[in-house]
C-alpha cells in the first residue's frame, strides 16, 4: 500500500489491523489506539481520501490503497489548514486524540466544505476527546473551513 505517498510492502499476519501495521511495520506512531470497540476514533486515517478507523480494518484490506496519516498531512513545512487551525485555536491538549480528530476533520471538510457548527459537531461524532470539551476543536474546524474556502 501507499502510505503518505511512499510505497510500503510488508508481509504481516492476516490479523494485523491497519493501525498496527502503520505503527509497527511502517513506524508511523502518530496514529493512536484509544479503545477496542471502534468508539473513540483516535486511530482515524484517510484511506483513499476518506476517514476510516484504522483499528477496524485489517491491513490486508488496505492492500493497494492510498493511506494518509497525520505524518503525511502537511505539505513539507506548510501545515494543512486543519493543523494550523488546531494550533491557533488550542484544539488540542494532551494530543492523544488529535491525530484522529484532525484526520476526521479533514475528511469532513472534504465532504462538507462549508459546515455549520452543528455539522461539525455531528461530523465528529465518531471521535472522542477527554481534554478539550470539544469547544476549541469545533472552533478550529470552522476556522479551517473558512481558510480553505478563502483559498478556493
Amino acid at each position: 500500500m501507499t502510505v503518505n505517498g511512499t510505497a510500503h510492502d510488508h508481509d504481516v499476519e492476516p490479523r494485523t489491523l491497519l493501525v498496527q501495521y502503520l505503527r509497527e511495520a511502517c513506524g508511523l506512531t502518530g496514529t493512536k489506539v484509544g479503545c477496542d470497540t471502534s468508539s473513540c476514533g483516535a486511530c482515524t486515517v484517510l484511506v483513499d481520501g476518506e476517514s476510516v478507523k484504522s483499528c477496524t480494518m485489517f491491513a490486508a484490506q488496505a492492500d493497494g490503497a492510498s493511506v494518509t496519516t497525520i505524518e503525511g498531512l502537511a505539505d513539507g513545512d506548510r501545515w494543512h489548514p486543519v493543523q494550523q487551525a488546531f494550533h491557533e485555536h488550542h484544539g488540542l491538549q494532551c494530543g492523544y486524540c488529535t491525530a484522529g480528530m484532525v484526520m476526521a476533520a479533514v475528511s469532513l471538510l472534504d465532504e462538507v466544505p462549508e459546515p455549520t457548527e452543528r455539522d461539525v459537531r455531528l461530523g465528529l461524532e465518531g471521535n472522542l476527546c477527554r481534554c478539550t470539551g470539544y469547544h476549541n476543536i469545533v472552533k478550529a474546524v470552522l476556522a479551517a473551513a473558512e481558510t480553505m474556502r478563502a483559498a478556493r
Binding site: G34, D36, C40, W79, C94, V102, L124, Y134, N136
Partner: protein
C-alpha cells in the same frame, strides 16, 4: 508589553500535530519483550489453581508468572488507620476481589504472542459472594477481608449533637448518589522498563514521575538513585494516573528479573477495570435555616466506596469534609465519613478528588432548600455568601480561604446568562405545557488547589548561545506546561519565548518534584520557576556588573530587549549570550507555598428536557471561574472547557455500572458513554481574576474548577426543568430513563386555581 496574561499559542502543538508526539507505546525499544496480564473475570473468588502449562508452551513465550513467583511486597497502606488485613498484593495471591485484578503475568516476544498466551492461562475460581453496593458493604454481611472483621476501611465520625438543627425553621434532606465514574484518559496505561545491571530505567505514563520513582524504588528495594523514571507525552490523567499501579511495579520487576527490556500497554477493556475509578460516594445532606433564607446548619454524611482495596479514595472524603460548606457562611457544619470496601475497581483521585462531591451535595441541597422556602435559588445563595471583606476566612471545617469575591462571580454569571429572560422563557414554556421544558441550574463552588501544600522545584539555565532551559518538578499531560513556564521565563528575562526549552518528567534531569495533581502546577511549579528566574537575574546582574565594570546595584535588566545595562546608559548593554559565555549561568529554587489556594466560581446551565422521553439537552453553559491571576487565557479557557464537559458528562451521561455479582457492564467506550462533540454545546466563559496573596504569580489552580462547578449546575438544571411537574430530585446521571422514572414517580402538581 509583557507576554504574561496574553494568549500565547502552545509550544507543544507542533510535534503533536505533525508526528503525533511520543507516547510510551510509540517508543522505539528494540528487543523489548511484551507483557500481558491475566485478570480476574470474577468479582470475588478464591483462587483454586492457576495452570500456566499451556500458556508456557505457546510460541514466543518467555515467562508466565503468578503471585508465588514474584517477590514483591504489598502496596503501602493509604493511611495508618486502614486495617493491615486490607493490604493489596501486587498479584492476587489467594483471593480475587474485583474484576480486572491481576492474577498472572505473561511475557512474550510480541504483543500478539503475549495476548494469545494470556488467554491460555487456566485459572480455577471458587466463587465467593460479592458485595457491590457500598450501603450493603457497610452492613458487613459479606466481608472482603475476613481478618479485618469489617468492610470499613476508614472513618471520621460526626461530632454533632442531637440539637444540631435547633433553631432552624426549615430543614431539608436529600440523599445523593455521586455515582462511580471512569476517568477515561484517551491514552490508557502503558509502561516500559530496562535494567542495565545496576539501574532501572522506567518509562512511566504518570502524572508524578518522582512519586513513581519513589514507589518503584520502595517496591523493588532499590535506592531512589538506582531508579530513573522518564515520562514522555502522557495522554491525559485526570487524577487517575497519579499513583503507582501494580502493573507498573511488575513491569519494572520483570525487566530486572529477566534482564531484558519489557513493555506493556493495556487494552481499553483492561483500563476500564484496572485504572482507578472516581467519585463513588453515597451522601445524605441535611440543610437547615430560616424561612427568610438564612442557612444555619449543614450536616453531610459521606459513605465513600473505595473499591476492593483502600487506595487513593481513602482520603477523598477528607477533601469533601474540608470543603463541605463551600462559598457559604454557615455557622454549624458537620461531616460524617465512612469508607467501605466493595468488590469493585479501586477508586482513586478523579478531577477534583473529593471537592466535586462536596459541591455537588451542597449545591443540590441548597436548591432543595430554596424550593422549600419558595425563594429564587440565586437569592438564597446570595444571602449566604462569604462577604469579600472576610478573607482570609476560616470555615467550621478548618479550611482557610485565601481570597474571594463570590457575589461578584454570581452577579457576572447571572448577567451574562440573562437570568431574568431565562426565567421568563421558562415560565412561558410552563404555561404552554411545552414538551421541551427549560431548566436553569446554578451552582457556586470554592475549591482547594495544591491541597497538600507540597513544595515544588524549578530551575533555569542560560546556554552560551543565549537560549534557556527551564526544569520543573511538575509533569504535564496536556496542560501546556512548556508554554506556561516558558512565558514566565521569557517575561522576566526577555529571552524570546521560542528560545526557551522546558523540561520535565525525567528524574535524572530534574532532581525532585511532586508532579501534577490538585491543580497545583502553575501555582507551585510556576512559582518555583519564577523564583529561579529571580535568582538567575541576580546572578546575571552580578556578572553583567563585572563585564560592564559597574556596581551590581547600578545594573538593571531590560526585559524588553533581554539585556543588562547600567541604569541610564541603555546603549552599552550585555546580552544573555554574552553573560553565559564565561561559564554556567543557572539558578534553582524550591517554592514553599505558605498555604493552599481556593479558586471559586459560579456556573449556570440551561437544559431542555423532553418531558415525554426524558432526554436532556445541555443548550448553554455559562461559567465564571476565578482562579486568580491568569497567565495565559488560551490555556486557562482550555482547562475550563474540558472541565465543564467532564462535569456535565457526570451529570448527564456517565456511570460505571456493575451487576449484582460485580461484573462490570460498562467496560468499554461503547457502553461507557462519555459525550462526543455532538452532545455538547459551545461554552460561555465569563472572565474574573481575584489574585491570591500566597504566591508571586497571584495564581490559583484551574485544572479541576470547571468540573466542580459544572456537575451540580447541570444536575440542578434538570431538576429545575421538571420542578413544576413535582420532581424534586433525579439520580445522576440524568439519563433519559432516569428522568422518565423521576417524572413518573413525581407527585402530581397541585391543580391551579381556575382549572
Amino acid at each position: 508589553m509583557s507576554i504574561l496574561g496574553t494568549r500565547v499559542l502552545r509550544a507543544e502543538d507542533a510535534r503533536l500535530l505533525t508526528t503525533g508526539g511520543t507516547f510510551i507505546d510509540g517508543l522505539a525499544l528494540p528487543d523489548a519483550l511484551h507483557v500481558a496480564f491475566v485478570r480476574s473475570p470474577v468479582a470475588h473468588a478464591r483462587i483454586e489453581s492457576v495452570d500456566t502449562t499451556a500458556a508456557r508452551s505457546r510460541p514466543g513465550v518467555v515467562a508466565v508468572l503468578t503471585a508465588g513467583d514474584v517477590d514483591l511486597p504489598p502496596e503501602p497502606r493509604s493511611h495508618r488507620r486502614v486495617p493491615d488485613a486490607m493490604e493489596r498484593p501486587r498479584i492476587a495471591r489467594d483471593v480475587v476481589r474485583f474484576v480486572g485484578e491481576v492474577v498472572a503475568v505473561v511475557v512474550a516476544g510480541s504483543r500478539a504472542q503475549a495476548a494469545d498466551a494470556a488467554e491460555a492461562v487456566v485459572v480455577e475460581y471458587d466463587p465467593l459472594p460479592a458485595v457491590v453496593d457500598p450501603e450493603a458493604a457497610r452492613r458487613d454481611e459479606v466481608l472482603l477481608f475476613p481478618d479485618a472483621g469489617t468492610n470499613v476501611a476508614f472513618s471520621m465520625p460526626s461530632r454533632a449533637g442531637d440539637d444540631f438543627f435547633a433553631g432552624c425553621e426549615v430543614v431539608v434532606e436529600q440523599r445523593i448518589v455521586n455515582q462511580r465514574v471512569a476517568p477515561c484518559p484517551l491514552e490508557v496505561r502503558a509502561a516500559a522498563a530496562r535494567w542495565d545491571g545496576r539501574r532501572l530505567t522506567q518509562w512511566a505514563c504518570t502524572q508524578n514521575p518522582h512519586g513513581t520513582r519513589a514507589g518503584l524504588a520502595a517496591a523493588l528495594g532499590l535506592d531512589t538513585g538506582a531508579v530513573r523514571v522518564v515520562t514522555p507525552d502522557v495522554g491525559g490523567g485526570f487524577g487517575a494516573k497519579h499513583g503507582t499501579y501494580p502493573e507498573e511495579v511488575i513491569v519494572a520487576w520483570l525487566a530486572r528479573r529477566l534482564a531484558r527490556p519489557v513493555r506493556w500497554v493495556e487494552t481499553r477493556g483492561e483500563s476500564m477495570c484496572a485504572l482507578g475509578h472516581g467519585r463513588a460516594q453515597v451522601q445524605v445532606a441535611r440543610l437547615g435555616g430560616t424561612r427568610d433564607g438564612r442557612l444555619l446548619a449543614y450536616r453531610l454524611e459521606v459513605l465513600q466506596d473505595v473499591g476492593a482495596y483502600p487506595s487513593g479514595a481513602t482520603l477523598l472524603p477528607y477533601m469533601t469534609r474540608m470543603m463541605a460548606s463551600g462559598v457559604y457562611d454557615i455557622p454549624a457544619v458537620d461531616v460524617d465519613v465512612v469508607d467501605v470496601v466493595t468488590n469493585t475497581t479501586p477508586v482513586e483521585a478523579y478531577r477534583g478528588a473529593g471537592r466535586p462531591e462536596a459541591t455537588a451535595a451542597l449545591e443540590r441541597v441548597v436548591d432543595r432548600f430554596a424550593a422549600e422556602i419558595g425563594l429564587d435559588p440565586a437569592e438564597v445563595r446570595r444571602r449566604n455568601l462569604v462577604a469579600p471583606d472576610r478573607f482570609p476566612f476560616t470555615t467550621p471545617t478548618k479550611a482557610t480561604y485565601d481570597s474571594g469575591a463570590y457575589e461578584a462571580a454570581l452577579d457576572r454569571v447571572l448577567e451574562a446568562a440573562g437570568y431574568p429572560r431565562l426565567r421568563a422563557e421558562q415560565a412561558a414554556r410552563r404555561d404552554r405545557g411545552d414538551t421541551r421544558q427549560l431548566g436553569i441550574g446554578l451552582s457556586m463552588y470554592v475549591e482547594i488547589t495544591n491541597p497538600g501544600g507540597e513544595p515544588e522545584y524549578g530551575s533555569v539555565e542560560v546556554r552560551a548561545d543565549g537560549t534557556a532551559v527551564a526544569r520543573t518538578g511538575t509533569s504535564a499531560h496536556g496542560q501546556g506546561h512548556d508554554t506556561a513556564f516558558a512565558m514566565i521565563v521569557s517575561a522576566a528575562t526577555g529571552i524570546p519565548f521560542e528560545a526557551i526549552e522546558v523540561r520535565h518528567g525525567d528524574t535524572d534531569d530534574v532532581p525532585r518534584g511532586h508532579g501534577t495533581g490538585g491543580s497545583r502546577s502553575l501555582q507551585a511549579g510556576g512559582s518555583a520557576i519564577s523564583g529561579a528566574v529571580d535568582l538567575l537575574i541576580e546572578r546575571a546582574r552580578e556578572r553583567a556588573a563585572e563585564l560592564l565594570e559597574a556596581n551590581p546595584g547600578d545594573v538593571v535588566i531590560d526585559p524588553g530587549r533581554g539585556v543588562f545595562h547600567v541604569a541610564g546608559t541603555p546603549a552599552l548593554a550585555r546580552s544573555w549570550a554574552e553573560l553565559a559565555r564565561p561559564g554556567p549561568l543557572a539558578a534553582e529554587y524550591d517554592f514553599e507555598p505558605p498555604g493552599a489556594t481556593f479558586p471559586f466560581g459560579a456556573h449556570l446551565a440551561v437544559v431542555e428536557v423532553d418531558t415525554e422521553t426524558g432526554r436532556v439537552e445541555l443548550v448553554r453553559h455559562v461559567a465564571c471561574d476565578d482562579a486568580g491571576t491568569v497567565l495565559n487565557p488560551l490555556l486557562f479557557d482550555g482547562q475550563v472547557h474540558g472541565g465543564i464537559a467532564q462535569g456535565a458528562a457526570q451529570a448527564l451521561f456517565e456511570e460505571f455500572v456493575y451487576d449484582a455479582d460485580g461484573n462490570p457492564r460498562t467496560a468499554n467506550l461503547a457502553d461507557y458513554a462519555f459525550p462526543s462533540a455532538a452532545e455538547l454545546p459551545s461554552f460561555e466563559r465569563v472572565p474574573m481574576e481575584t489574585p491570591t496573596p500566597l504566591n508571586p504569580l497571584g495564581a490559583k489552580g484551574v485544572g479541576e474548577a470547571g468540573t466542580i462547578g459544572a456537575t451540580p449546575a447541570v444536575h440542578n438544571a434538570v431538576v429545575d426543568a421538571l420542578a413544576h411537574l413535582g420532581v424534586r430530585h433525579v439520580d445522576m446521571p440524568c439519563t433519559p430513563e432516569h428522568v422518565w422514572l423521576a417524572l413518573r414517580s413525581a407527585a402530581p402538581p397541585p391543580a391551579r386555581a381556575g382549572e
